[in-house]
């Protein structure tokens, strides 16, 4: 045990193995915790020292991969992004993300989540298929055009927004904030020409119009995205398109990549190594 671990935290972890257990149950573990220790580190401590059968997902430990999403004290968090002392409690209740079926313990089945993501065609669609298959140039995009959707490109697909969404809890086929935000992200991209394919998906039943604008998705997002805003912007696009007005966005043209590269800025004098 490293120094500085002074507090003993009770981890109340939901356990469930569909092959053995009829219903999920809770198991308690005592974890020594110190300053800066994350919930994920606590779970790793349990797995390494107390119960090796505890199952959870994790990978990067720096809130980039989005693997360790779970319900901590009944609120969706990334376990690697949540320090134990943030919760101001000696007792943490940890459950898998809701609105998804459980594979085992804290591992939710994210296949429906990724299917919904795939359904909105999350890639650039262009009419010039030849250029897409064999690119000869770059698509022009100004910084201000990038800024219209930039925040939504930071989505790590952790599923916390879907877990927080009250509509997803009652309406299983609801596309969910993640997929809808990504739908807006690609529709707003001036390099894309796939609005005609995506907007009917977003405008159908169990999609944007079922959003109650609770805003829970935006509050839960660990990357600070605002999926609720994307859904509202998507609604505006749908209404504009239905009424036949709104900005007609021309797809960006292609230009050859710059042949000249800027020379590197030389090191300042005081950092250059003495060659004598």
């Amino acid at each position: 045990m490293s120094e500085g671990r002074t507090k003993r935290i009770t981890f109340r972890v939901q356990r469930y193995n569909p092959e053995q257990d009829g219903t999920p149950y809770f198991q308690e573990f005592i974890v020594p915790s110190g300053r800066g220790m994350t919930v994920l580190e606590g779970l790793i401590y349990i797995k390494e020292n107390l119960d090796s059968s505890l199952t959870f997902r994790s990978s990067c430990r720096m809130s980039i991969c989005g693997s360790c999403g779970m319900l901590i004290n009944n609120y969706p968090h990334l376990a690697c992004h949540s320090q134990i002392e943030e919760f101001h409690s000696d007792r943490l209740t940890i459950k898998p993300l809701p609105n998804q079926s459980i594979i085992k313990d804290l591992v939710p089945d994210l296949i429906p989540f990724f299917d919904k993501h795939k359904s909105i065609k999350p890639y650039l669609i262009r009419q010039d298929i030849e250029e897409m298959e064999n690119p000869t140039a770059e698509f022009v995009q100004l910084p201000q055009e990038l800024n219209t959707f930039l925040q939504f490109t930071y989505c790590i697909k952790c599923g916390l927004c879907l877990a927080a969404c009250p509509t997803s809890a009652s309406d299983k086929p609801f596309l969910g904030p993640q997929a809808l935000a990504q739908c807006y992200r690609y529709c707003a991209d001036n390099r894309d020409e796939g609005r005609g394919e995506r907007l009917p998906i977003a405008g159908a039943d169990h999609a944007v119009w079922h959003c109650h604008l609770a805003g829970a998705c935006s509050e839960a997002c660990p990357k600070g995205l605002d999926p609720a805003l994307a859904i509202q912007l998507l609604k505006r696009r749908l209404i504009s398109q239905a009424l036949g007005f709104g900005k007609r966005q021309r797809p960006s043209s292609v230009v050859p990549p710059p042949t000249e590269t800027k020379p590197k800025v030389p090191f300042p004098e005081f950092t250059a190594k003495e060659t004598k």
Binding site: P200, G203, A204, D205, H206, H210, K235
Partner: protein
């Protein structure tokens, strides 16, 4: 795109319900306010007053519009709530048609009296 039109109509009918209902409330239940400004609206909820209003095209139009907007707004909202908890496509279709039939029947029933009074 069909859903976008239906949703847009629901937003518009929501605003119209608020406006038309306000006119109805002010005219029939807040006659004291008119009295305060010196306008005498003699017992607006009395039978004779209602019959008199029913003979005026403006009021008939107002009430028919209020009923149509209120029905559409309520029934489309109800459909959305039901579809949210019954995600099956088949159930959705049954619910949609059942609500359309209910809406049409209630609209005909609700407009029959004012239209009959107006035309008689």
């Amino acid at each position: 795109m069909g859903t976008a039109y239906l949703r847009l109509v629901q937003l518009v009918t929501g605003v119209l319900v608020a406006v038309l209902l306000s006119i109805h409330i002010v005219l029939t239940h807040l006659d004291a306010i008119f009295g305060f400004f010196g306008v005498d609206v003699a017992e607006p909820t009395a039978w004779a007053s209602m019959i008199e209003r029913a003979s005026q095209g403006v009021f008939v139009g107002l009430y028919v519009a209020l009923l149509a907007c209120g029905l559409y707004h309520a029934i489309y909202g109800l459909r959305n709530i039901i579809l949210e908890v019954t995600p099956s496509i088949k159930t959705g279709r049954i619910v949609t048609w059942a609500l359309i039939v209910i809406g049409v029947v209630v609209f005909i029933w609700g407009t029959y009296v004012p239209v009959a009074l107006f035309t008689s």
